[in-house]
């Protein structure tokens, strides 16, 4: 699957108009300068040769070099991906932590004010563009109220912790830099809330719908008849069954958030992979584009694998081999 993704990305990157060598050489470069770059990066070779070289490079851990910055793409991904991962993980975590209980509450108190309020939240989350929400939060909370920073990961003059995992929050924890950790969390709050909101809405809606259906099932009615407490029925019996579609949604959301974090990254100057990819795309810098695609594709596959494994944990019927 990854190889297929690689083929498609390579083909698209190379058929779109635009001469990467000319762009890398600069607007005033003469033909000789453009030729120099073309030869240096093998862009003068036939496409199958370029592709072959690229695949061989990947097999040896070399993702190529950015034409724009001359940096190794691998180094860039190591620098930028952990930032996006942290943003997405925190946002998705928050969405799950809030979305599932809200979905449950909404289903249990169907057609009451609790349900109506939760539905307003969920409709807003789906309807409001993250970009707009981010700007509004930034203007209101950061600019006018001045209680949170406008953007970035740390204050300008703060020194980031020495990288261990390249995840800033984790590194600050591991290094015991509590002040840095608190600053990093303050800077993360608005982008996390912004990115979390649409995911929260989706998770809540799916969970609510599944819970409503599950709560009407026969086995739930039996459980009620047997005198189990409402809390136990909802959390122990109904939620487990309702979680399978919710889990699918969480897995999908992870992929969407990874690919779609660019708008939030732009608003909050969050140095993530989305911005890196967009900058590469507008410069026809195809090595980083392919590197990002490969990395996100791998992540998406891993996330779906985890979701598949979790199905088995939630529902024993799935992990039991079929007897048919």
């Amino acid at each position: 699957m990854l190889f297929g993704l690689l083929c498609v990305t390579f083909a698209i990157s190379h058929v779109v108009p635009g001469d990467p060598a000319r762009l890398a050489a600069g607007p005033d470069a003469n033909d000789a300068m453009v030729r120099t770059i073309r030869v240096k990066y093998g862009l003068d070779q036939p496409l199958p040769v370029q592709f072959g070289r690229y695949v061989m490079g990947i097999l040896s851990g070399d993702l190529g070099e950015s034409l724009r910055s001359r940096n190794a793409v691998r180094d860039d991904l190591v620098r930028f991906f952990p930032n996006t991962f942290e943003l997405v993980a925190l946002s998705l975590g928050l969405a799950v932590v809030l979305g599932i209980p809200l979905g449950m509450l909404s289903a249990v108190h169907k057609d009451t004010w609790v349900d109506h309020l939760a539905r307003v939240v969920s409709v807003s989350g789906v309807a409001l563009p993250a970009f707009w929400l981010g700007l509004m939060l930034q203007l209101l909370i950061a600019l006018h109220l001045g209680v949170l920073p406008l953007g970035g990961r740390l204050p300008l003059t703060a020194t980031p912790p020495e990288p261990v995992t390249h995840l800033m929050l984790v590194d600050a924890l591991l290094r015991g830099q509590w002040g840095t950790l608190a600053q990093a969390l303050r800077h993360a709050l608005l982008p996390v809330v912004t990115l979390c909101f649409p995911a929260l809405a989706s998770i809540m809606r799916v969970n609510r719908a599944e819970m409503i259906e599950t709560l009407q099932a026969d086995y739930i009615r039996s459980a009620r008849a047997q005198g189990f407490s409402g809390f136990r029925i909802v959390t122990r019996y109904a939620l487990r069954n309702a979680m399978i579609p919710t889990l699918t949604m969480i897995g999908l959301r992870y992929g969407w958030m990874l690919g779609g974090s660019v708008l939030v990254e732009t608003v909050f100057d969050w140095p993530g992979i989305g911005l890196y990819a967009v900058n590469a795309a507008v410069s026809s810098d195809f090595q980083p584009i392919m590197g990002v695609t490969l990395l996100l594709g791998t992540n998406f596959m891993l996330a779906n694998l985890l979701v598949d494994l979790a199905y088995g944990w939630l529902d024993p019927r799935i992990r039991r081999p079929s007897t048919a």
Partner: protein, 529 residues
């Protein structure tokens, strides 16, 4: 609620409150006793190597970290001595000799010698990238001679009067420092991407690619500092969203911002504590027309378009912060003349020219290509639609990303009928603009007209070989008139350069030869009350 839950709630509430309590907004950043200026810019600095690349953000940092033999200063821009204390050229503008100051030091403490200058020029020529195009046609490595430790001579392959005008962009590197970092014969390219080997007023402190770039002032900079309040360092913070830039300026989290829209600049100018320097620049905006293919091949149609266009709309789009071109050359270019009868909107005249053209029946559709997302260019497309409808001509607006637009304009067969282009000349010498109309510029974004006029080309080639300015002047006047007469583009306007600045930022010196957004960081100071 149990006591435990109450305690947990209190702890969580206090922790959250501590998290969101903002520190007081400082006027500017400080690092120890150093005053740090924060520049919120939208463009990254992908490389610092002076031999490899330049654009406004790269050059702003290169200028801060490196010195050149001479430097552009002021408005109108003047070339002033820097690493070279004086220079002379031979009467035929072929041999140029520079005498270096003896006090200049690299950041390592080693003296800046003629050998370092020779090596730096040779390196740029050998890598054949970045600024190499400026001199590679007239200078080769053999032509650079070290006469003594502090004297260097350039012998060009042919007389070339604009030579000096390009020298400010050829920065001098410390060869000893670079060569120890060489990898596989790359002349230190990999290392110089995010390191420096210069003698400039600043040195690198922190380099977080795509996030922020911090430089600190060199104590005891060999040239001295123009003010006792000079900045102790500069952080170029990448802020890509205009609303975030504006908010950062208003909250004094940024001291200078660039790249806002005309409306945003007008808005922040009204805010207390914010100043908006506003100067006419050298960047021209024009609508290049394909002079060799399609309907715009016909000079009468091109002239009809030039007379149909509403030039005042250009000024309105920039809220009055622009001036119309009066010649193909920007006003700050040496030798600029106001060309008599330069096109302004005159619909009757436009119709006269249209009647003489092959498209006299109207009904044709012209393609207008512009940069996707550039609001000003989109608005101008709408103006064109309205203006050309009066001639019975239709306009199809085609937004393209910059790489795709450059690709379209690179070949005569694909170059669109009309293409919106901003162009900033790299020097104040008229050759820098005139050469955009030479056949050697075909294929570059500013050569997308594929303009052809043997007389003009001959004049351009002749003018660049004459040393005496008095003899060059009439030739450039002639060139401007001839180009205007051929109407290879709708010559538009020069948008003002603007920055948003906190009012405690002092010492800003504007020079139109710098690129859009670029600021000379050396004279900047922060006034403390």
């Amino acid at each position: 609620m149990s006591t435990v839950w109450v305690r947990v709630s209190v702890v969580v509430t206090v922790a959250l409150a501590a998290l969101v309590v903002a520190p007081p907004v400082a006027g500017f950043e400080r690092a120890g006793d150093r005053k740090i200026l924060v520049f919120a810019g939208r463009q990254e600095v992908p490389t610092l190597d002076p031999s490899v690349k330049y654009d406004w953000s790269i050059r702003m940092m290169q200028q801060a970290l490196y010195d050149a033999l001479v430097k552009y200063v002021g408005n109108p821009p003047e070339i002033v001595p820097w690493l070279a204390e004086r220079w002379e050229s031979s009467p035929d503008a072929r041999t140029w000799t520079f005498r270096l100051v003896r006090t200049a030091r690299f950041h390592t403490g080693e003296p800046v010698t003629a050998e370092a200058v020779r090596w730096s020029f040779a390196r740029t020529l050998r890598l054949n990238a970045g600024p190499a195009w400026m001199l590679s046609d007239v200078l080769n490595e053999d032509g650079i001679r070290v006469l003594d430790d502090h004297t260097i001579q350039f012998t060009l392959t042919r007389p070339y009067a604009p030579f000096l005008s390009f020298v400010p962009w050829w920065y001098v590197m410390n060869p000893k420092q670079v060569l120890v970092q060489e990898q596989g014969g790359d002349l230190g390219q990999k290392w110089l991407t995010d390191h420096e080997a210069g003698s400039g007023p600043f040195r690198i402190k922190r380099w977080e690619q795509g996030v922020l770039y911090e430089i600190e002032a060199v104590d005891g900079y060999w040239k001295g500092w123009p003010s006792k309040d000079h900045v102790g360092g500069v952080i170029l913070k990448i802020v890509r969203e205009a609303a975030a830039q504006r908010a950062a300026l208003l909250r004094a989290e940024a001291d200078i911002v660039e790249g806002l829209s005309a409306d945003d600049f007008d808005q922040v100018a009204k805010m207390p504590g914010v100043a908006v320097p506003n100067y006419p620049g050298m960047t021209t905006f024009g609508i290049k027309m394909n002079t060799q293919k399609g309907p715009t091949k016909d000079p009468n149609l091109r002239k009809a378009l030039a007379y149909a266009f509403d030039y005042e709309a250009l000024i309105k789009i920039y809220n009055g912060n622009a001036v119309l071109q009066t010649s193909p050359f920007p006003n700050a270019t040496r030798g600029h003349v106001t060309v008599p009868g330069f096109p302004r909107q005159d619909v009757a005249r436009a119709k006269e020219f249209l009647a003489k053209s092959a498209s006299r029946q109207g009904g044709i559709e012209l393609e207008y290509v512009y940069v996707q997302g550039l609001e000003e260019e989109r608005k101008l497309g709408l103006v064109l639609i309205d203006n050309l409808a009066r001639l019975g001509l239709k306009v199809r607006m085609v937004p393209l990303t910059w790489p795709n637009m450059v690709a379209r304009g690179a070949k005569v067969d694909t170059s669109p009928d009309m293409m919106a282009v901003f162009t900033t000349p790299v020097s104040t010498d008229p050759d820098a603009v005139a050469y955009q109309y030479h056949k050697n510029s075909w294929g570059k974004y500013y050569g997308s007209s594929f303009y052809a006029n043997d007389d003009v080309w001959a004049l351009i080639e002749r003018a660049r070989t004459i040393a005496r300015w008095e003899e060059r002047t009439p030739l450039y006047a002639e060139i401007q008139k001839k180009i205007a007469a051929d109407a290879p583009e709708i010559f538009g306007m020069l948008a003002n350069r603007r920055w948003g600045m906190r009012d405690y930022v002092k010492g800003f010196v504007f020079s139109p030869v710098r690129f859009t957004g670029e600021v000379d960081l050396y004279p900047l100071a922060i006034a403390t009350k």
